[in-house]
């Protein structure tokens, strides 16, 4: 101890003359920092109620409560936060796939009632609802992956040369990485027509439990090998991860499960169904709807006979979709399993021609028909009957049957749907120059985006807002197609604009073949007149109830003829519903008989 030790402390008296550190009005002058993690804000219109915030919250501070109307891609639920639990970690903000959740820089909430600290951000009136400042997820920091795992695909150069399947399928690592992106919110389940338990089978992929995955898939879809390739995947359009960039490849993940398991192993994994209950059900048409109904009816214990007019089963899956999208052995894989369960599929048996409808009707306890749309629409223009004008479906049929279509060197495909794309790309594989004409804009095209993209990638020329006018015999080529430009004219609010021909704009394409692929209609000619009279039809569709029962109680119908969605997965769902319906109908009938 020295003199300094006694004197030195006094030297700091100088601080008495410094500016005080005290904040005079702390409550007013110090708002939270720009990044302050204060009270929550939520853009309720952007939010889709996926519940990921609830999932990640380790305090279970978040509840999902109904606020908005439920629609596809939006559960209508919104997070409600309990500030008796919240720890302001902002993980909910970080993980929010839509980016709707944020935090304001307000932080004072005082009350004498402990019950009030719960609120729905953005919905309940709060002073911070429109706060500009506050915590947001920083650029460069993200807990979710917005980019898809790239799918190995043939290059366009290679793909257009052959009918080899273009999409090659995920490897195990790729599938796991893709499955890992799933946030398991379950928004997609409602949108899938078959309500497949998507998050569950994706979890099975993560857990590398293919058997479990197969079980989950078959629970709602007996044609997964086909669906895993060509499904219209409405699930992917509502996927919550899509808000971060790209949706999960749900369809391809399903395909991955199926690709991992040999057909021979299915029986060990899947449920064989109930024993034969002695009842017989007929199914007309072996497309996805018919096969789905047959499968689930078989599981319920019914004897099922499928009547199909074609040489091989599968309907549109086989005849409407070219092999590079859906190889025939994959269709066979699905069908073989259904057949192995004891479903009797009779090929080359056209109702009305080879076997009488009345006989089928009489011999079975119930009947389900899903005969699909087989009658192509014509263009309704002059020269439509010239040689060289083929129907899209007809051409695809020929290719499936192994007959080389007579296309020539240049082809014009008219239409913007998947059949048009298939026809175009198939023609391309026969080395034809392909032009696609479509009446509306590219964004209006009903075909899948990737189909359009791939068609263009393979060298098909797409001309939009083009209306075919007439077909004439060509000079150097077989045909000449005259077409006019269209402009989009508004058709009233809430309706999509319609194309109107610009007068005088006429152009011509010289080509060898014109393939109209602008849709098909149903063909009910197999139905006897008195049966048809008992059913009701509306704009070409058979009218059915929720169980797909027609006005005639013994007859059920599904698939494209009863369903405006007109895709495979809807048909599968229809078949499943109808199977349930038939089961209920027959059991009720039995009960009624027992009571009499």
């Amino acid at each position: 101890m020295s003199l300094k030790d006694i004197v030195a402390p006094f030297s700091v008296w100088k601080r008495a003359f410094e500016k005080p550190y005290t904040n005079r009005k702390p409550l007013d002058t110090r708002p939270g920092a720009p990044r302050y993690r204060g009270f929550h804000i939520n853009a309720v219109d952007t939010c889709i109620g996926c519940g990921t915030c609830e999932e990640i919250c380790q305090n279970e501070a978040i509840d999902l409560v109904p606020v908005k109307e439920t629609r596809h891609g939006d559960s209508g639920l919104r997070p409600k936060i309990d500030y008796g639990r919240c720890c302001w970690c902002a993980l909910c903000v970080d993980i929010c796939p839509t980016g709707s959740l944020g935090m304001s820089n307000e932080y004072i909430w005082i009350d004498d009632d402990p019950e009030v600290f719960r609120f729905i951000p953005g919905y309940d009136e709060k002073s911070w609802n429109h706060a500009e400042l506050g915590y947001r997820r920083a650029e460069g920091y993200d807990l979710l992956e917005g980019q898809r795992v790239g799918m190995p695909m043939l290059s366009f150069e290679e793909s257009r040369k052959s009918f080899v399947e273009m999409v090659q399928g995920f490897s195990a690592e790729q599938a796991k990485a893709e499955a890992d992106r799933c946030i398991a919110c379950g928004i997609c389940v409602a949108t899938c027509p078959a309500h497949m338990k998507v998050p569950e089978y994706i979890k099975a992929i993560r857990d590398d439990n293919m058997a479990e995955g197969l079980k989950i898939v078959y629970n709602a879809n007996p044609l997964p090998a086909s669906c895993g390739r060509v499904c219209s995947h409405s699930c992917e359009y509502v996927c919550a991860v899509k808000h971060k960039g790209e949706a999960l490849s749900i369809r391809w993940l399903k395909r991955y499960i199926i690709d991992q398991i040999y057909l021979g192993d299915y029986q060990k994994i899947l449920d064989e169904g109930e024993p034969d209950n002695g009842k017989r059900v007929a199914v007309i048409g072996s497309g996805p709807g018919g096969l789905s109904a047959a499968y689930y009816l078989r599981l319920l214990g019914y004897q099922v006979t499928v009547y199909d007019a074609n040489e091989r089963a599968g309907g549109m899956l086989r005849y409407g979709i070219p092999e590079y999208r859906l190889p025939y052995d994959q269709v066979d894989k699905d069908i073989e399993y259904i057949r192995s369960l004891g479903v009797d599929i009779r090929q080359n048996t056209r109702i009305g021609a080879d076997v009488d409808f009345e006989v089928v009707y009489r011999d079975h306890d119930a009947l389900f028909f899903s005969t699909g749309l087989t009658d192509p629409y014509g263009l309704d223009i002059a020269g439509e009957d010239l040689p060289g004008v083929l129907s899209g479906l007809g051409m695809l049929d020929d290719v499936t049957e192994g007959r080389k279509p007579d296309l020539g060197a240049s082809v014009v495909v008219v239409g913007g749907g998947n059949v048009a794309m298939d026809a175009a790309r198939t023609s391309r594989r026969y080395n034809a120059e392909v032009t696609i004409l479509y009446r509306r804009r590219e964004e209006d095209m009903p075909a899948d985006d990737e189909e359009i993209h791939e068609a263009q990638g393979e060298g098909c020329l797409l001309i939009t807002q083009a209306i075919p006018l007439r077909i004439e015999k060509g000079d150097t080529t077989r045909l000449k197609l005259f077409w006019g430009r269209a402009e989009m004219v508004s058709d009233g609010p809430g309706r999509r604009p319609k194309p109107v021909l610009i007068e005088g704009s006429e152009e011509v394409i010289a080509c060898d073949t014109v393939i109209p692929a602008i849709g098909q209609a149903a063909d009910y000619s197999f139905l006897p007149e008195e049966t048809a009279a008992r059913l009701t039809f509306k704009r070409g569709y058979v009218e059915v109830n929720e169980f797909h029962q027609t006005a005639e109680e013994k007859i059920f119908a599904g698939g494209d003829i009863a369903n405006p969605k007109r895709d495979a997965i809807s048909a599968i769902a229809n078949g499943h519903s109808a199977a349930k319906g038939i089961d209920i109908y027959l059991r009720l009938l039995q009960k009624e008989r027992a009571t009499f």
Partner: protein, 223 residues
Amino acid sequence: MSDMQDMEKTESEEQIARIAAEMRLANDGLSDQDKAYFCDARPQAVEPYRGIMEKFANWARSQSLWILGFGTGCGAIELRPLMTSRFDMYRYGIQPRPTPRQSSVFVIGGYASVKTVKRIVRSYEQMQGPKFVLGLGSCTVNGGMYWDSYNTINRIDYYIPVDVYITGCMPRPEALLAGFNRLKQMIREGRCEGMNTYAENFDWYKANQKQIIKDWNMPDYNW
């Protein structure tokens, strides 16, 4: 006649004695030897002064809030900045005191473990009235972070009455100041009746406390 009266009188005396005995606290947690040391009376609700006197008293109370210096949880860390020069709560009439006898405000600093609840109850009961409780942080409302912990309670209002809650984890010192302002306002309005609530619902509070504090080795009312 007089006999009858005597009998009646003794009966009513017995009754009074019995009621009085029932009003006594059992102090079962204490040994017989210790029972002699501790009071066995219950807390009593306090009648307010009349009219303007109560208003004046409330104003005076609100102007000098002395906090008990007991950092029961992590919330205590934001009391330090409040006590020191930057936020300087002394200018608002708020200051920490080392003992419950001198304090009028108990700041529950967030979560409270069972072991601490025992001390909180003891300290709270030792505080002189009028006394107020400030629940700081989310943990006091509904368990907060530690909602599933085996050792922290979820709702402090089951064990002692709370006047004002400040949500946050951590609430900033400003939030605390705002909480004190709210408390002051409530005191001035005569709405902080926590102490009387405690006296009136003493048995309920005590039952709750005893349910979680398994080794009750203190008097039932620590006064």
